[in-house]
């Protein structure tokens, strides 16, 4: 019986029919999606922290308004994704609990610090650029609510990357010190950004199943290569350099070759030893705990309003 269900399920996937919350699905599919979508949601939420760091110090009002709008978007994206995960039977509080206890992960990129204003540019161009590369194919992922959330997110995301590139472009046309600041930010964010696509395909045991279920449409290495190819061209507009001496156009493959990625660093950060892991999680937990009175007050107010309405009705 279970086997029949699995066959029907896979047939639907193969025919590009979306899976909706009330359809039968293998338990492993449900669990994989809960893990992936909640991790994605957590990344949006924690991702507000490194950028939020610069809101009060943005160089002018225009930049400040833009950065505020961007961070606000990230919060919204987190909420779309949490709701998509909730359709799979996990509650919002359970997901928060998993984030705060360290059981659930978020994208390691947010465990790096934002040291200068140019980092806000580099995050927009590289971090959001990598995220977009990853997210565009997710608009066609097999689970309906996730795909629909991604469509909204991708639409909103495109200004994020452009504002980042604009920051870097402005700095690259500025003084020597401004140019150096832009280059320094790219030097620090480049490698962590290309690690965002995750381990290489032969080190990524879940990829095969996720591809078969069409949760993923491209492998980590395919997306990483695409991203590198695009950035290697875009950097020319900035007149700056990508910090990889092995980055070179390869006529025979039609792609850029690139240098060795420091996977030790990647795993160190995943395991909690990045520069800001502790700080990010503590900030997040503090926000949750210190917001408790707001949640309680809202509930108390709703209760009071309900009673008032009952009295008026009677």
């Amino acid at each position: 019986m279970e086997k029949d269900f699995e066959k029907i399920f896979q047939d639907k996937i193969d025919q590009e029919i979306k899976i909706e919350p009330r359809d039968w699905m293998p338990e492993k599919y449900r669990q994989t999606l809960i893990r992936q979508i909640s991790q994605h949601a957590h990344s949006e939420i924690v991702g507000m922290l490194p950028e939020g760091n610069w809101i009060t110090r943005a160089p002018n009002l225009r930049r400040k308004a833009i950065l505020l709008a961007k961070v606000q978007d990230e919060a919204g994206h987190g909420l779309y994704l949490y709701s998509a995960a909730e359709t799979l039977g996990i509650s919002r509080d359970e997901m928060y609990e998993q984030l705060h206890s360290g059981k659930a992960k978020y994208s390691s990129i947010f465990n790096y610090p934002t040291l200068t204003w140019a980092d806000i540019g580099a995050i927009g161009w590289l971090v959001d650029g990598a995220a977009i590369m990853n997210q565009v194919p997710l608009c066609r992922t097999s689970f309906g609510p996730y795909a629909r959330a991604m469509v909204r997110i991708c639409k909103e995301e495109s200004f994020h990357q452009r504002q980042g590139f604009e920051i870097l472009l402005t700095l690259s046309k500025g003084t020597e010190a401004q140019k150096r600041m832009a280059q320094d930010a790219i030097d620090r964010w480049w490698w962590p950004s290309i690690m965002m696509f995750g381990p290489t395909d032969d080190e990524s045991p879940n990829t095969l199943q996720s591809m078969q279920w069409k949760i993923k449409r491209f492998t980590n290495d395919e997306l990483r290569q695409k991203f590198i190819d695009v950035c290697a061209e875009q950097i020319k507009v900035l007149g700056l350099v990508i910090p990889d001496k092995d980055l070179k156009w390869n006529e025979s493959t039609g792609h850029y070759d690139f240098g060795k990625i420091n996977w030790d660093e990647f795993w160190q950060v995943v395991q909690g030893n990045g520069p800001c892991n502790k700080q990010r999680l503590e900030t997040r937990k503090k926000a949750w705990e210190e917001g408790a009175w707001v949640r309680e007050a809202a509930n108390a107010y709703a209760e009071k309003r309900k009673q008032r309405q009952t009295v008026t009705a009677a």
């Binding site: 909706e20 495109s158 507009v237």
Partner: protein, 95 residues
């Protein structure tokens, strides 16, 4: 007047797997089960749907149209939320 009028239900239809449920109209029914069956007969006679949601109309809370001006005002002056706000060189591709 009798107080046995069936309650009003709002009907939402998903036309195809992968698309949102869309509001299509309303109908009267004595309970949720009947509302779904009636919705099938009223709104999906030509295979318009693969899934039906019904919600009792009294459970829908709506914003007030007369307050629309003030409600949406915060979005009016934020052109920078749109990608076209940023002028970047034409030679920049894939962004």
């Amino acid at each position: 007047m009798s107080n046995t009028e069936w309650s009003l239900w709002e009907v939402f239809i998903r036309s195809k797997q992968g698309l949102d449920h869309k509001h299509v109209g309303s109908l009267h029914a004595a309970d949720a089960q009947m509302a779904i069956e009636n919705a099938r007969d009223v709104y999906t006679r030509r295979m318009e749907g693969v899934s039906i949601w019904v919600v009792e109309s009294k459970n829908i809370h709506a914003s007030n149209p007369t307050e629309a001006g003030a409600l949406y005002d915060p979005a009016n002056d934020k052109a920078y939320r749109h990608p076209t706000f940023y002028h970047l060189p034409d030679e920049l591709k894939h962004m």
